[in-house]
Structures are given as C-alpha cells and as structure tokens.
Amino acid sequence: MTIAAKDAPLIAVDDVHTYYGKSHILHGVTLHVGPGEVVGLLGRNGVGKSTTLKTIMGLVRPTEGSIQLDGAPITGMPPHKLARLGVGYVPEDRRIFRLLTVMENLRTGLDRQGVTDEKKQALLDKVFNYFPVLAERRSQAGGTLSGGEQQMLAIARAMMLEPKIILLDEPTEGLMPRMVSQISNIIDVLHKENVAILLVEQNVPLTLEASERVYIMEKGVVRHHAAARELKMNDAVIHQYLGV
C-alpha cells in the first residue's frame, strides 16, 4: 500500500454550507477523517457541530460544498444508502426505537442484504461481549433502558452496520461518571477495530484523550485544527474557543 493511498481521507467535507430554513448554520465547513482515525469536533453550543454530522449523514442537504466517502461523492445521497455504505450515526438524543426491544433495535441494522446468519451472530456476540447488559435486556423495550444503557444500545446499533466510520454526537451527555469512562473505553475498542470516529463532545478532556486530531468550530466554520497532543499542552486555545 502506498503512502498516498493510506493518507487518502475516508470522509472529506469540503466548504459545506447548510441552512435550516432561512438560517445559515454552516458557513463553509472543511474537515476530513482518515480510515480508522478518531477525530474530535469541539466547540460551544450552537456552533454547528451536530449540523455537521447531520449533513454528512445526509439528514440535512447542504446548499454548497461537497462531501466524499472513500473518494466518491456522497453529497445529497439519502441516509439509508449512506448507512449501507458504512456510515454509522449515533445522534445526540440517542433516538432508540423506544417500543422495539433491544434485539429488534439491533436487527434494524442487522437485517441487510448479504449478511449471513453466521455473520449476524458474530456481530451480536461482539456487541453483547462489549455490552453484557444489552444481552441481559435483549427482550426488553428500548424505552425502558436507563440513559447509559440507551447510549450503549445506540452505539451497538450503529455497530451492526459494520461501519467504516461512526458519527458520534455527544455520547457522554447526561451520563454518570462511571458510564462516561465506559463510553471512552468503547471508543478505544472501536479504534482498535479500525472504525473511524468523528466525535462531537462537550467533554474536552475525554475528547483530547480519545482523538488523534481535533477540529474546533466557531459560528459555523472550523477555526482551529491541531493534533490532540498539541492541544493538551495549549490551554490558551481551548480557553479562547471553548471558554473552559
């Protein structure tokens, strides 16, 4: 494998503009995520981090700019096709199918064309191994799980798609400290399995710990881009953009 091929981005977002009705949310966002890379996306509330993820996922259509997956254009592609191409999405509010059981929630991603029964079982075994509590509650309705369990289910559900990348939106929001460290373990596990992650978080230390590179957004654009290692040493930048 050549260096150039290895460095080719998995997801490349180029100068993307997105509107909600008349309000201009993204003013030309440019970022990329390499294969198997964990990349953080930081910024204050309302700067467009979640909108960036939704735009990549095809849930909001950009008016300008382009998005590529593995070098092929995916701008404006419907979300269900992106999911089949290997883009997993774990939204901020988790959006578990509340009336479906844990198992049925997982099956929404598992019942795809070309997945053999053995493969399905292997995928289930894998997530039940990471999240034993989901195995215990497999017949329970998703809506009856605790917040932390729902977060696990949301991540496990995205893993059923065998994604190349997971768009992870504030996975630790509102969770107890014990759950937060579990989420950070899971990010490490996904990273070891070579799943790329674009991580939107308010938890700065966790993001800097988990990511290789970090983008910082302000008012709908990326203002700063640095290796996580550098930012750990540089409180001034963090303070300037995030006020912490």
Partner: protein, 297 residues
C-alpha cells in the same frame, strides 16, 4: 322477586344474537381500520381514499367472481390488485408530499377518492352489484336462521389481522415498519429504505381494505359509494382507538360495533349509529389520545 322480574325482562336471545352480529361487523371494521391506522402511524397521512380502496376491492371481486366463479380467487386477486394500485397511488401522489403540511396529503387523498369513486360510477354504473357468498349454509340461533358465512367473515378477518400482527412482530419488514413508525429519521440512518417502507405500508393497508370489501360484499351489495359509510366509521374507530395504534383500533372496532348492535335492540339500526358518534365525542372530550392506549406520561 324484583330481580327475577328484571332478569326475565332482559331479551337474552336478542343480546346473544346482537353480540355475534357486533363481533362480525367489528372484525370487518377492524380490518379496514387496521390499514387506516397503519398508514396514519407510519407517514402521518389521513387516507381519505381508504373507503374507495374498499369499494374497488369489492368491484374487482365482482369481476373475478363473474369470470372464474371462484370466491376465494376473487378475494386473493382483489387484494393483490388493490395493493399494487395502492403502491402506485402512494408513489405518485403521497411520496412527493412527504414532510409537507398534513393538509396537502388530506387534499391529495381526497382527490384520489373522488377520482376512484367516479371511475367506478363510469365503469360499473349506478346499479348495485351482488357478490354471491361462497356457501349459503345456515344454523339455527333461537328463532333465526343464522348464515355460517357471517361467522366465516369474522374468522377470516381475525386471521388476516393476526397474520399481519405476526408479520409486524417478527418479520424483517415488520420490524422496518415499526422502526419507521417510531422514528423515520433514525430508521433511515440505520439503512432502512424509508420511502419504500412507506409505499409498502400503503400497499398493505390498501390490500386489507380490498379484502374487507370482498368479504363484506355479499352482505351489503356493491356500489360506488359503499366506501363512504365504512370509512367514516373506520375514522371514528381509529380516533377512539388512538391514532396510529393498531391494537387500540381493533379493540375500538369491536367495542363500537358491539355498542351499536346492542343499541339496535331498543332503537332502529339507523339511530343506533348515533352511539358511535357519542363514543367519539366523549373520547375526544375526556381522553383525546384514545380510549385503548396507556395514559401518556
């Protein structure tokens, strides 16, 4: 002594007969309402053309029965043809309107209902047609010769609804339908082709309406306005059962049909219809989310 007098004054025979009648009508109504509530639940579309799909199913039943002489074949073909027609209607009229104001879909389905109704009038004329029931046996119920066919309708409707429920509960596509009903956006993000799930749901609803049209045809006669009464009642059932709630619609269909049947013991059947409106008004006043749904938190 007074108690025995009261017990004697109750017309037990009529109550039993009306219970059976109520359940038979209730099952047919449940079959119509299931499709209506499925379509509403999954795409927030109130399908004003549902009664016309019921009517068209009955007419296709008439044609197939006339050519083949086989009632069961007529039932099957009418269901399939109207399901396909439903899919076409969904793709052409409703898919482009997804996410728009609900009023636009109401107008669209209302337009479709007018087209279908007038097509039927033009094609089949104003004279009612008859579907011959597949068998004409009777059994004696008190002083009545009660047709077996009515019980078969109730049983078949229950079987179709039961099969549909199993499909929703366990089938791959059933899970897709339930996931899409709960969260359209997240279903898409999980790789579920939501536009096609909507089309399939509309087709299933249309097929169920057509099946009830054929099953009920022998009891009422087939004409181009036969859908109107039934769809109105099905709307009441869907609201009373809780919009989009399948189990609630089935319970409400049987509940309302039984109440109407009992009321018909003392008042004329035309007046008994008032009962369903009373139930509707009381439901909207005191429990607008539906009678047969758990109290919302």
């Amino acid at each position: 002594m007074e108690l025995t007098a009261i017990l004697y004054s109750i017309p037990w025979d009529q109550i039993l007969i009306q219970t059976i009648n109520g359940i038979v009508t209730g099952m047919i109504l449940a079959l119509i309402a299931s499709g209506l509530t499925l379509i509403f639940g999954i795409m927030d579309v109130v399908n004003f053309a549902h009664g016309e799909l019921f009517m068209l199913g009955a007419y296709i039943g008439v044609i197939v029965l006339a050519t083949t002489g086989n009632f069961w074949l007529a039932l099957l073909i009418a269901t399939l043809v109207v399901a396909l027609l439903g899919a076409a209607i969904q793709i052409v009229t409703l898919r482009p309107l997804l996410g728009r104001d609900p009023l636009t879909t109401i107008l669209a389905t209302f337009g479709v209902s007018l087209i279908l109704q007038n097509y039927a009038l033009w094609q089949f004329g104003p004279v009612a047609r008859k579907i011959q029931e597949p068998f004409t046996g009777h059994f004696t119920l008190f002083y009545l010769e009660y047709p077996w066919y009515r019980l078969v309708i109730a049983g078949l409707s229950a079987a179709i609804i039961g099969g549909f429920w199993l499909f929703l509960k366990h089938g791959k596509y059933g899970i897709w339908i339930r996931a899409t009903t709960q969260d359209r956006v997240m279903a898409q993000a999980m790789g579920i082709p939501v536009p096609w799930v909507h089309t399939a749901a509309f087709a299933i609803g249309a097929g169920m309406a057509a099946a009830s049209g054929v099953l009920f045809g022998p009891l009422v006669g087939v004409n181009h306005t036969m859908g109107l009464d039934w769809v109105l009642k099905a709307f009441i059932v869907v609201v009373v059962g809780g919009m989009g709630n399948l189990g609630g619609s089935i319970a409400a269909a049987i509940f309302i049909s039984l109440l109407e049947a009992y009321a018909a013991i003392w008042v004329s059947p035309a007046q008994a219809v008032i009962v369903s409106f009373i139930v509707l008004i009381l439901t909207l006043l005191f429990r607008p989310t539906g009678l047969f749904v758990p109290t919302p938190k």
